[in-house]
Amino acid sequence: MNDPDSVHDAPVRRVAAQSTTAQRRGAIVVGASSGIGAALVRRLVREGYTVGAVARRGDLLDALQEEMKLEPGRVVPLVHDVGQVDEVGPAFATLAQEVGQLEFFVYAAGVMPAVEAQEYNTEKDQLQVQVNLMGAMAWCNQAAMLFHSQRSGTLIGIGSIAGDRGRKGNPAYHATKAGLATYLESLRNRLSEVGVHVLTVKPGFVDTPMTAGLEGLFWVISADKAAETILASARRRFWNTRYVPLRWWAVGMVIRSIPSFLFKRMNI
């Protein structure tokens, strides 16, 4: 054991292996088959990102993958219903491993079923809680754990100006978007100390399947324009909550300051 000459051919040290995924830039978008989610996937892939695209409808993901075939980045499609929270751990692990160094995580899945003025429909409400809120928590928890451990990354949640107040229209939609904003605020406060940014996006009216056929819309922007603004603010890290487009910030200020005794009499 103490004969030094006999072992000098063995290596005295080997530096511990470093991560091999550090070179590739990756993103994950949940709710990627249409609307703002799909627009974000397109923009990121054009910039060269490998993007994990999660949605319930596989045919739309396939079409998106086909469309992006010649772009510098790549789409990694994954079919998943965000209501299945048990699947989220393995699904996230699969995608995160595939896309490389995760820079952006976007939760863009959301549903807003039509609700009549006098309709109190628990089934519709439950669906909205599952997709808009529970799914967001299951996925963002995973992203938060990864971002916290690697001490970098940007987590983006698509909320809504509808979350600013509980209006008459669709109580559960307002409630889930308000819940999402508060949940994201907590994540932001937890993650900021390790340099991770959490951005809550509050889009106004965006031309997407969700708003198709609705009347009385104004200041409507395209999903691509919304995606451009979202990515720019995510990178600039100035806003914690970003209204898209910015003029909705002023509207939000006004709406949030209306006292309830007036608000309940108003028809908005």
Binding site: V12, T94, A96
Partner: protein, 496 residues
């Protein structure tokens, strides 16, 4: 075609999982991995058996307090044991506590103290799990007197990769027991332990400080108290040169005897043990930020000098009383103190802790301190402890001393720092010294071979082949120190 969410064998177990960057405590080594967190022994068995069948490498992890690469792996999955953390029972008459492997020292002492007991051995932080402490055979400031963690363990359950559970103790399958303590998680997962605790008659210990002008004086001070002290620890200023080389401060602590503490009822409460909430006016969770500003050679030279002169004053005081937690868990005073070494990729710290036989310790440590100064890498923190030998198969223990040195890792000078460590390793090995893998990140298989007797190593590898026939239990540490001996390249396992 779009893929659906994979339904692999591990997902079907429905054990909470995440995918994250798993790093050693020193932050300079790590790997992305899928982390599974079993919540019971049954879930742990199921995860291990599945990995065994599917040939998926498993890295066992507790609180992740090992400084180097013992707790992460570039291949396979990581099992985080902290969810298997029930305290199963306490035999007050014998002072024996039965716990699951994921129970932390914090849980344990908070449970024991109001019952008038204290864990016989605790490390410098209360975060580690009991299974992790047993697997690395961690020690405390009383190593010279009561041995390390393994010496307090009366019995343990080991979950083998096949899912089978083996119970072992000094009486039952003693060969296995000797191998499991200090086995670094390469033989199986420790799911249950019976631990001998120590009755205490106060929530406080009596501490005396003694300032030492240099290393030899400090070692003489400590050696003089080996017979009577309960705890001995020396702080070393790595910056001092010449006749002051290795100057520092010794703390000598004693347990109180029955009746010595008139307020024993009160001091034995957990609330009495609270660590200070703020330090010099900073809330403790933020203290690493001002420390960050001092984290360079000039700042640390200043800090170490200030500590030395404060120590001289402290040594003039009469012995004082300090809570058990306050005395033992120095590393917990400043949460995330490691962030003072920088949080950017590649920055962090390594701890280099050689164990040297008592006859040559002074000379070796002096040489090491000089080497550091010559090469321009002075340790920002040095800690001197006295140890005693034990009979575990992969032991680092010996009748001698250890000097733990914390080095800042700057990615630009990483290679030079590793070269310095190689040079120090030569000095240590030549003197018959050993190393401790809870701390190490720099040794290679060659060095490992040189301090462990060849037949002990052969015994361990034979046992590993029997208990873990597919070789699934591994970590980056395993591949660094064992694999070059066993295999020419990585194991032929499916990447997961």
């Amino acid at each position: 075609m779009s893929a659906a969410v994979p339904h692999d064998a591990l997902s079907d177990l429905l054990v909470p999982s995440s995918y994250r960057f798993v790093e050693g405590w020193g932050m300079v080594s790590g790997a992305y991995a899928r982390v599974l967190e079993p919540r019971s022994r049954e879930e742990l068995q199921a995860v291990m058996a599945t990995c065994h069948e599917q040939r998926i490498p498993i890295c066992l992890r507790g609180s992740g307090r090992s400084y180097g690469d013992a707790n992460h792996s570039t291949q396979g999955i990581v099992i985080d044991l902290r969810g298997v953390n029930r305290i199963l029972g306490f035999d007050a008459e014998r002072g024996q506590v039965e716990v699951e492997g994921g129970v932390s020292f914090e849980q344990l002492w908070k449970y024991l103290l109001p019952l008038g007991h204290w864990p016989s051995v605790v490390p410098g932080t209360m975060a580690p799990t009991m299974a992790g402490a047993a697997a690395m055979n961690v020690h405390g400031k009383n190593n010279f007197k009561v041995g390390a963690t393994g010496d307090q363990i009366l019995e343990l359950d080991l979950v083998l990769p096949s899912g089978e559970v083996r119970t072992t103790s000094r009486q039952q399958d003693p060969e296995l027991f000797r191998a499991v303590i200090g086995s670094m998680g390469f033989l199986g997962c420790i799911s249950r332990l019976v631990i001998q605790t120590k009755p205490v008659y106060s929530g406080q210990v009596r501490v005396a400080a003694k300032s030492a002008p240099n290393l030899r004086a400090m070692m003489e001070d400590m050696a003089a108290h080996v017979g009577d002290a309960d705890y001995l620890v020396g702080w070393v200023d790595g910056f001092a040169k010449g006749p002051a080389l290795g100057r520092g401060l010794t703390h000598i602590a004693y347990h109180l005897k029955p009746g010595e503490d008139p307020n024993a009822q009160a001091t034995l409460q957990v609330s009495h043990q609270e660590l200070p909430a703020s330090i010099l006016g900073f809330p403790k969770s933020e203290v690493w930020r001002p420390l960050r500003l001092l984290n360079h050679d000039r700042g640390m030279r200043l800090l170490n000098s200030v500590k030395h002169f404060m120590g001289k004053r402290e040594a003039k005081r009469k012995p004082y009383l300090q809570s058990h937690a306050g005395f033992n868990f120095l590393l917990d005073y400043v949460p995330n103190w490691k962030f003072a070494y920088g949080r950017q990729t590649g920055r962090g710290l390594i701890q280099y802790q050689p164990f040297v036989p008592k006859e040559r310790a002074a000379e070796v440590f002096e040489r090491i301190l000089e080497l550091c100064q010559e090469r321009g890498f002075v340790a920002y923190l040095g800690v001197l402890k006295r140890h005693r030998p034990d009979d575990y198969l992969l032991t680092h223990a010996l009748d001698g001393w250890s000097l733990a040195l914390d080095f800042k890792v700057d990615p630009k000078r990483r290679g030079q720092l590793w070269d310095l460590c190689d040079a120090m390793t030569e000095v240590v090995l030549e003197a018959g010294g050993r190393f401790y893998f809870a701390k190490d990140l720099v040794l290679g298989a060659g060095a490992f071979q040189r301090f462990l007797p060849a037949d002990d190593l052969a015994k361990f590898r034979a046992l590993k082949r029997t208990l873990d026939p597919h070789g699934v239990l591994q970590s980056d540490l395993y591949r660094r120190i064992f694999e070059p001996l066993d295999h020419p390249g990585p194991l032929p396992l499916t990447d997961f």
